[in-house]
């Protein structure tokens, strides 16, 4: 069995061979490589193998996809957009519902506050001149207000300012999120990178 003779310059020469295949060697470097190859069988064999591989890869033609590829990509794009719309739609409905619920809570709190204020300050002249039905409704609301008085009174006296602040902050955040979702909704105009 023939034992392959090793070359102590093989690593450096292999790099030069690779550069030579890419046309990256200058004339002097190329001459040095050729001179070495003329005297070294090991490197010559490697050079021939590299050239054979290079020729084979260079001759290999580009392969295109099966017919209808672009249509399939467009279909997948459509499916992804539809899924995205569904997710965005669900989140938009959720945030708008939460916003509405928060607004309702605020409206009820204002109503109760007004009833309480009426009880403490006495009926306003305009209300005094109201119809009988209105005053009955007002007294009914007054009863409801009485029930909530103890609870809300304590709550507002103790945590009033931070509670109102948290409520307002939550409302602003929800509204902001909702506006962001509407602005970023799929199918809307996409962000621009300054491409002209």
């Amino acid at each position: 069995m023939e034992v392959k003779r090793q070359c102590d310059q093989s690593a450096e020469m292999a790099l030069r061979m690779s550069l030579a295949l890419d046309g990256q060697l200058d004339a002097g470097e190329r001459r040095a490589l050729d001179a070495h190859l003329a005297t070294c069988g090991t490197c010559q064999a490697e050079w021939e193998a590299m050239q054979a591989i290079s020729v084979m890869l260079s001759r290999s033609a580009m392969i295109g996809p099966p017919l209808g590829f672009a249509v399939r990509v467009e279909r997948r794009l459509g499916e992804r957009a539809r899924k995205r719309r569904q997710v965005f739609g669900s989140v938009a409905v959720l945030t708008s519902s939460l916003s509405l619920a928060t607004l309702t809570v605020v409206a009820v709190a204002i109503l109760i506050g007004a009833v309480l204020a009426w009880q403490w300050l006495g009926p306003l002249p305009a209300v005094q001149q109201g119809t009988e039905v209105a005053s009955k409704l007002a007294s009914g609301a007054g009863l409801l207000g009485k029930g909530a008085t103890l609870f809300l009174g304590d709550l507002l006296l103790q945590y009033g300012p931070p509670l109102a602040l948290a409520l307002a902050l939550g409302l602003v955040l929800l509204a902001g999120l909702w506006i962001w979702l509407v602005a970023r909704r799929p199918g809307g105009s996409r962000s621009h990178n300054g491409y002209a």
Binding site: G64, P65, L77, R190, N193
Partner: protein, 181 residues
Amino acid sequence: MDQERAWIEQALQGDRKAFGQLVRAYERPVYNLTYRMLGDPAEAEDAAQETFLRAYAKLATYQPGRKFVNWVLSIASHHCIDRLRRRQRAPQLSLDGPSPPVWLASDAPQPDQVVSKKEQRERVRRVLDALPPDYRAAVVLRYWYDLSYREIAETMDTTESAIKSRLHRARQMMAESLQAA
């Protein structure tokens, strides 16, 4: 080029038909890359489709100073490298057993002989399959797209010296397998 710019601009406004034109223009180079990287037509098609979906999703990050096709090829090569690494972590079992490691079987025709396209394709596939994913991408970009070291480095997000080294090592590995055959 102007037409390409117009399609990109329209696609940025959400026009999927315009993006479809870009797909038609570049489906061949993208598919060729995914096929050369992955070696399987079905997987190559899926990876090429995924490449275009990703390109559409991040079209806003495309810098007009760069060649659009190189930008898409960059997405494709990264995606294929990821797929190959996942494949290496979870090797697929074949009922046929492992493929012969020799890319030029003893009874195979010699390079100077005429061989059928199918045989030629299979031979190229085996040569590339023996390379690590990073080396394979560098070889494919060099031979099929004739990209310079700088362009390959940009496409693969690395340095020119790393590309020189990868091509050199890849050629050595391929030459060794040829000599061993």
